[in-house]
Every structure is written in C-alpha cells, then in structure tokens.
Symmetry: C2
Subunit: 239 residues, 2 copies
C-alpha cells in the first residue's frame, strides 16, 4: 500500500498526465475498470493502482490511498482503479484511413476512434495539432476501442502524399460543393476531417481528390465533427 504522494513511483507516473512525458516514455494512464480489463487482454499493462478497500479483480495490484489516487488522474470523479499502460507500436498503413486535422475536443476524438472500429477503418492518422489520444478523456470516450485500431502520428501533408502514391482516394470534408456520400464508390480511401470551429486546413483541403457531402436540412449549417465523420464512414461501409 502506498500512502504518500512523495513515493518515487507515484511521482514518476503522475507526470504521465502531461503529454510531454507520455511522448518521452511511451507510457500512459487509463482510469476505468473497462479500460483496464481491455488493456490486460492486450498484455500492455505495466502497473495497476487500486483504491484502498476496493476488491481486487485484476491480479497484481498496488493499493493506494485517495490522496495518492488523486495524483494519478485529472478526472473530477476519483477512479477506483488506474493502470499504467505501454503504447502499442505504430504499424504500417493498411486498409481504410481517417485523418484528423486539429481536432481539439477529447470527447469528439474518442467518439471517432469508437466509430472507426465499428465501421472497419484500420488506421487513424493524427495531424500535428490534434489533441493527444493518450489523454484520459479521449481514452474514456473511446470505450477502449483505441486498442483495436492502428494509430499513427504524422504530418498530414506528408501523409496525403504517401497515401496518394499508395493509390488511396483522399476524401475531404467541407460544408459545400461535395459529392453526396451515397454516390462515393471509393474502395480504398483516406477521409480527412478537421477542427471543430474551422474545419480542415485549406492547404490540406486543396490536396483532396473529392469532397464528401451529407445531405441535410438547410436550417442546419453543419454537424458535430464526430457525428459527421461517423455518418460518412458508416455510409461508405454500406456503398
């Protein structure tokens, strides 16, 4: 049982709440029972910390006090369990792809990861300005689906160039002048979606081969980016 926030392990691991230390160490923190169990199935768990008095269903754990647990999370509601987990190695691009340009809302990114697994996307590419997927809130919103998809961090201009060479259709998203998603027949595609407020960067948008359009009532200018992405990949999986 650890009851001091000055414990060396706790001091080291609590730094993982910052992206910089996650990037350096290749480790991150997860904080729900569901996520911990999913991570255990994948054999990527390094350490588990359980709140004192809670029943241990995980195997090898270290008990900690509430004060110590509080050091290992940014969430308002104190978790009963957190685990320290190794990032998986980035794999080669394979299958259909979704690229995220500058998404900032962790809930949106988590939701998109979940939908990508549902609709058979194999790889997500995170551009330079997108929120870190190893952020606790993204992980929660992904419902553990992050373990079922290949996630790559890479500059999006370079990525698009690579994908074009590999024969991918690059599908952009913008509010007007697109192809109705029911009419898109690409069998090997990379979908590019953008920031909540400003959409996809223009330089990237100009590199696209076609643009996806979701037919909607003119009273509504646009959809939430998580919803729009999900509808497009749902429809493309049905075409």
């Amino acid at each position: 049982m650890i009851n001091s926030i000055n414990n060396e392990k706790i001091k080291k691991y609590s730094k993982l709440l910052q992206k910089k230390y996650r990037d350096e160490s290749g480790l991150y923190i997860i904080s729900t029972d569901h996520l911990v169990r999913e991570a255990q199935k994948k054999n990527i768990v390094v350490d588990i910390f359980l709140l004192e008095d809670k029943k241990n269903v995980y195997g090898n754990v270290t008990y900690v006090t509430e004060t110590v647990m509080r050091k290992l999370t940014n969430l308002k509601t104190l978790p009963t369990v957190v685990a320290i987990v190794k990032k998986e190695v980035e794999r080669e691009i394979l299958g259909n792809v979704v690229m995220l340009d500058g998404l900032q809302d962790p809930g949106n990114v988590g939701t998109i990861i979940r939908s990508c697994v549902a609709f058979n996307i194999d790889t997500i590419i995170l551009g330079d300005n997108t929120v870190d997927v190893y952020n606790e809130k993204v992980l929660r919103a992904s419902e553990g689906m992050i373990y079922n998809i290949n996630i790559i961090k890479k500059n999006l201009i370079d990525s698009i160039m690579d994908l074009k060479v590999k024969g991918y259709d690059i599908i952009g998203t913008r509010v007007d002048n697109g192809t109705d998603i029911k009419e898109i027949t690409s069998k090997k595609y990379a979908l590019l979606v953008g920031n909540e407020g400003c959409g996809v960067n223009n330089q990237l948008l100009n590199l696209c081969d076609l643009y996806a359009y979701i037919k909607m009532n003119s009273m509504c200018e646009s959809l939430n980016v998580g919803v729009a992405t999900s509808i497009i990949i749902y429809q493309l999986s049905e075409n």
Copy 2:
C-alpha cells in the same frame, strides 16, 4: 455599466444557472455571439450583457465587468457576451420525433439537437431524467439549433401511449436483435434513445414496435449515443 455582483438584476439572473430557476421563470442564459444572434432573429432576447471594452454589435446592451460576467456563466472560459432569453412555448407534436431517456452528457444532447434539425426531426421529447436542454453546455453544443426544433418535456410512458394513438411507429434502440436501419420503412416514427451507460429503460423498451440495428464490426459493442442517434435518423431520412 454594472460593476457589482450585488446588483439586483445580476443577482436575479445568476440564479438562472440553476435548472430550478430556469423552470420557474421560463428564462435561460446563452453565452456565445452565435447563440445571441440566433436568439435575436427569433425575438426571444430579454437582456444582453456585454463585457466592458467589447464592441457592441447587438443593439441594446448593458456593459458589465469581468467579475459580473463571471457570475452569469458556469463556463471555464469567460464569454464576451451573454443574453437572457425566453423559452419558446412547447408546440403540439408534429412530424417525426426523437425521445431522450436519461441522457446525461450535455455534449451528447446538444449534438443530437443539431443532428435532429439536420435530418428533419420536428419534435424532441425529453424524459424525466434527461439533462436540462437549457443548460449552457447543451446550448453551446447545439450550435443554436435549439431554436429550430420543437422541444417538449414529458413523461416517456405517457408520450409513447399518445404517439401510438396518433399512429406513430415507436422505434427502440438496443445493442442486439434489431432491424437493420436500411430496412426500416416507417414514414411516421418516434425514435427512442437512452442513457450513455445503461441505454433505454426496459419498461420503455418493451413498449416499442421495432428496434433499430446499425450494422457494425463485432469488435465494437456500441456507438456513442449522439453518433448512433444521428446515424439512425440520417439513414431513415434516406430510406
């Protein structure tokens, strides 16, 4: 210019951050430039408060200090403008309907309102346990679309009974044993979606005429409720 949080008007309006006072008064607070402009188009604005030194593009406003503005919002980032707005009168049920059972995440509810306008839903019915739509975060996530749809608060058992009498197909959502959404041909329907963690209440689910199923990869158990709702109403608008 108001510079004291003890000003009577500010004291009165700041109570609208609590649901109880919104329910009592029929007023609520909105807090982005976009929402204020949309509300002005609808002629439902009662008062506008603008942060000192900001340019007035709204007409009749009262300037306030940062400290006073802080009293009128729960948002972390201080808004430059807030308005006090009258709730619109609930109208009769008309057209297609979405019913929300116990949704708790303001972002999800706001997103659903936005998608409902996009895909021609005319009425949203809020069950007893769903988060208040006049909550600042719901309003933000709705991107002002709340003004373009009829919102009714009503017990969902009563609602379903009414809707059945009116000839609506009641479409439930659950993870298994449903009809593929591409095969649903209802022309007059009410879709019932449920809480983020537990889904739709069983008693309500048993009252449904059919259940919507979204075909997805078996690695993924379910979608975010905002996404699932949006995909279903998108697909039904296309059938």
